[in-house]
């Protein structure tokens, strides 16, 4: 009964989404106030019914209702409660429902917290969100309902993929989706602006906190995924440049560009059409990510090929949403003209550099991700693009970006003027180089060219971020939240660069064969293998190795890497043993029994790896602080013109 209620709630949500789209868009274009007002209760209703629907699915999981096909596929009677709930989004159907629920949540947040926006504009925003939501709900109802029944019921579930049975990974998809879906708000603002042909830039102020919120969720989601990959996959890598990861990283880069560009549009009225394009682009890449991951175009075969209808539906949806927005852009954007030029070393110019470099990085990653698909479609052979390409493609825009970031942070609007820090730049950069050389030489014993470059930009960015707070001494009150957000996020970028440089330039790894009592040495640490034993977990059996870490003969830690075999069958899983300190991680993964009492092992020394995730968290925190800036909560400014009167033709003169 409960699953049927969930399904019914989903249908009602679709009807309400259609009402929201209709009343929002048609009401605004006809100037019918009653219709425009009707869009808001439709949003609320849609949200309530989607929550009910999602609740019904979670309930079916908690109750072990294996008569529901999706539950039988992704859960199991041995699965602990926490993972049963997380299993609700562990598969295709459930993750779509989660996606739809989040879209409705963002929509209702926009409806509730956008009192300062004029009614017609707000209605159009909600109308566009309603259209997007309709697409998703139709996709779910027509091709992949999570509430489909099995007759007769399965006696036992298939189990959640053991890889997914992990706390970080249970939270990873919701955060990631929250970010993906959050860009729909910026997208809806951009579409509403284009529909109205608005020439003012008030929309940029309205869109900024939403964009920051979406971007920070995406940051946390990606960080969790990376952290999970590090300790769960058994390779010790934190990023693999696989298509699924790239699909989340591209909207992130585009979102970062959008955040900066929105600031210029809001403050200076520049880059109007460019900012609109970025807003459309960030959400388009989110949808494209869904398409690549969900349709099976890139991963292929049995994942989704059993139902090519899904792929076609998603493609049609992409064409409607992105194609529609780009058509609107082609039609409306040419009338948007920037009010003024800008100086070469002004903040506007630095943001332009930032945007160009971030978009270039996005483009290069997109090329590497889609190129194999192009080759295959043209029947030119099967290829893959190796991770080293992505490393280079990412590095080339990032080094100049970070160098410019250090200066740009202190530049001023309108004028070619770098704050009081200007005279110190040479000193700061010199100090960063010297520090980078010293760290390379004395901490890691070798001067690796890219290592020095990486440390230099890392120290440079961190120093530059800290300059202003330090200069002001204790007198930090009165600085706006926006300033703190920027400082935190940019300091995070520096930490991130520090982590990447440390790992990429100075890591040491080896795969070796060890018998009980054997010792191997890595960067001054000794790893002694003390054999294996059998252990038993709630729904798995495992072989556990014992590895004692010591330095200069003194043991300081015992690690227990495991090889797990889940009761539901399938493949073995590697649980690595990790010892972390602020300066480095020691990583041990158990391989397999090689015979003759020996085991294969992977031992790794990963300097500074924690700063990658710490830096990302600083970036997310910076986004959070910025989003709370008081200015965004201000009432409608007097300068904002009433919408509707701003005709497209006006700007053509």
């Amino acid at each position: 009964m409960i699953p049927e209620l969930g399904h019914f709630a989903l249908i009602l949500a679709l009807l309400l989404a259609a009402a929201q789209a209709f009343f929002g868009l048609v009401g605004a274009s006809r100037g019918n106030v009653a219709w425009m007002r009707a869009a808001q209760p439709a949003v609320a209703g849609q949200w309530v019914f989607l929550l009910l629907s999602f609740g019904a699915l979670v309930w079916s999981f908690i109750q072990f209702d294996f008569s529901v096909r999706y539950v039988a596929m992704t859960s199991n009677s041995l699965l602990p409660l926490f993972y049963r709930i997380a299993a609700a989004w562990g598969g295709h159907e459930g993750s779509l429902l989660l996606w739809g629920t989040m879209l409705a949540t963002w929509s209702i947040a926009v409806a509730a917290f956008s009192r300062s926006m004029p009614l017609p504009y707000k209605s159009r925003v909600l109308g566009v969100l309603g259209l997007v939501s309709m697409g998703f709900l139709m996709f779910m109802l027509f091709t992949s309902s999570p509430f489909e029944r099995l007759v007769p019921a399965a006696a036992e579930g298939n189990d959640l993929n053991p890889l997914l049975q992990d706390v970080a990974l249970a939270i990873h998809p919701p955060m990631l989706y929250l970010g993906y879906v959050g860009f729909s708000v910026a997208f809806a603002f951009a579409c509403a602006t284009l529909i109205e042909g608005r020439l003012d830039v008030a929309w940029a102020r309205w869109a900024r906190p939403w964009t920051l919120a979406a971007w920070l969720c995406l940051t946390i989601g990606i960080t969790l995924g990376s952290w999970w990959a590090y300790y769960e996959l058994g390779w010790g890598g934190y990023w693999f440049w696989d298509p699924v990861e790239n699909a989340s990283f591209m909207p992130w880069l585009m979102g970062a560009a959008l955040i900066h560009s929105l600031a210029v549009t809001e403050k200076r009225g520049l880059f109007k059409s460019w900012t609109l394009l970025l807003a459309v682009g960030a959400f388009s890449l989110s949808l494209l990510g869904t398409f690549l991951v969900r349709s099976g175009v890139l991963v292929s075969v049995h994942a989704f090929a059993t139902d090519p209808a899904r792929g076609l539906f998603i493609l049609g949806f992409l064409v409607a949403v992105i194609g529609g927005a780009l058509a609107l852009y082609t039609w409306r954007a040419p009338v948007l003209k920037s009010d003024a030029g800008f100086e070469l070393l002004s903040r506007e110019a630095f943001v332009l550099f930032n945007n160009a470099l971030l978009v270039a990085a996005t483009g290069l990653i997109l090329l590497g991700t889609l190129y194999p698909l192009f080759m295959d479609a043209m029947e030119l052979g099967k290829i893959s693009v190796g991770p080293p390409y992505f490393g280079v493609a990412f590095l080339i825009p990032m080094v100049p970006l970070l160098l410019l970031l250090g200066v740009g942070m202190h530049s001023s609007w309108k004028r070619s003027h770098i704050g009081p820090i200007g005279r110190l730049f040479g000193v700061l950069l010199g100090a960063a180089v010297v520090l980078a050389l010293l760290v390379s030489k004395f901490a890691y014993g070798q001067v690796h060219f890219m290592g020095v470059v990486g440390f230099t930009v890392a120290f440079w960015v961190m120093g530059s971020a800290l300059y202003e707070p330090i200069r002001r001494g204790g007198n930090l009150r009165g600085l706006p939240a926006g300033f703190w957000g920027m400082t935190l996020a940019h300091f995070g970028v520096g930490l991130f660069a520090l982590g990447i440089t440390g790992v990429e330039s100075y890591r040491i790894e080896k795969d070796i064969s060890l018998g009980a009592g054997d010792v191997t040495e890595l960067s001054g640490y000794e790893f002694r293998f003390d054999g294996t034993k059998q252990v038993r977990g709630p729904n798995y059996d495992a072989i556990e190795g014992t590895v004692v870490l010591s330095r200069d003969g003194k043991a300081f830690k015992t690690l227990h890497p495991q090889k797990r075999f889940y009761a539901s069958g399938g493949n073995a899983m590697t649980e690595a043993g990790i010892h972390a300190t602020p300066t480095r991680d020691l990583f041990v993964a158990l391989g397999e029994d090689l015979g003759a009492g020996k085991w294969s092992m992977r031992v790794q020394y990963k300097p500074l790896i924690r700063y990658i995730w710490l830096g990302a968290l600083f970036m997310a925190l910076g986004g959070l602080v910025s989003a709370t800036d008081r200015r965004y909560r201000a009432k409608l400014p007097a300068t904002a013109r009433a919408p509707g009167g701003t005709m497209a033709g006006e700007g053509a003169r």
Partner: protein, 146 residues
């Protein structure tokens, strides 16, 4: 200078900078494109010598060989028509098994042995890398009884 000219300079600087960066990136792109070959293509001489590529197929059942206690392993990869010996030293992925699909990255040595530096087996019984699936051939029925 007028603001307009300054802006032109800024735009030109960006175009040159981005252009140069793209050129370097495309160079890296060229170097990192990895072609995929099946054992039949390797036997037929299509695969490059001295350049890394990816070899895919099924791990022949019973072909796994290792000296007890050694991390080095030898196995055969087949597309059911031709077979290529593979040599690898390192940890095998959790999903590596005889009779299953595998993708190995490495180079062909002079003796016709594929020396892998990376072995991927990202699949389970429900899933096989599409490249591998496409290459699988069925044996000619003449000797096909098993």
């Amino acid at each position: 200078m007028t603001p307009r000219r300054k802006r032109m300079i800024a735009v030109a600087a960006i175009v040159i900078g981005v252009g140069a960066a793209t050129a370097v990136a495309l160079q890296a792109f060229q170097e990192n494109i990895m072609y995929f070959y099946s054992p039949s293509q390797v036997t037929g001489g299509e695969a490059p010598r001295g350049r890394a590529f990816r070899l895919g197929g099924l791990v022949t059942t019973g072909s796994l060989q290792r000296t007890p206690g050694s991390i080095e392993i030898n196995f055969l990869v087949t597309d059911n028509a031709e077979t290529i010996p593979v040599k690898y030293s390192g940890l095998l992925p959790d999903l590596f098994r005889e009779g299953q699909g595998v993708i190995a990255h490495g180079k062909l040595n002079d003796g016709g042995v594929f020396v892998a530096d990376e072995v991927l087996a990202k699949h389970d019984e429900n899933y096989m890398p599409p490249e591998v699936a496409d290459t699988l051939k069925t044996p000619q029925s003449a000797g096909g009884a098993s």
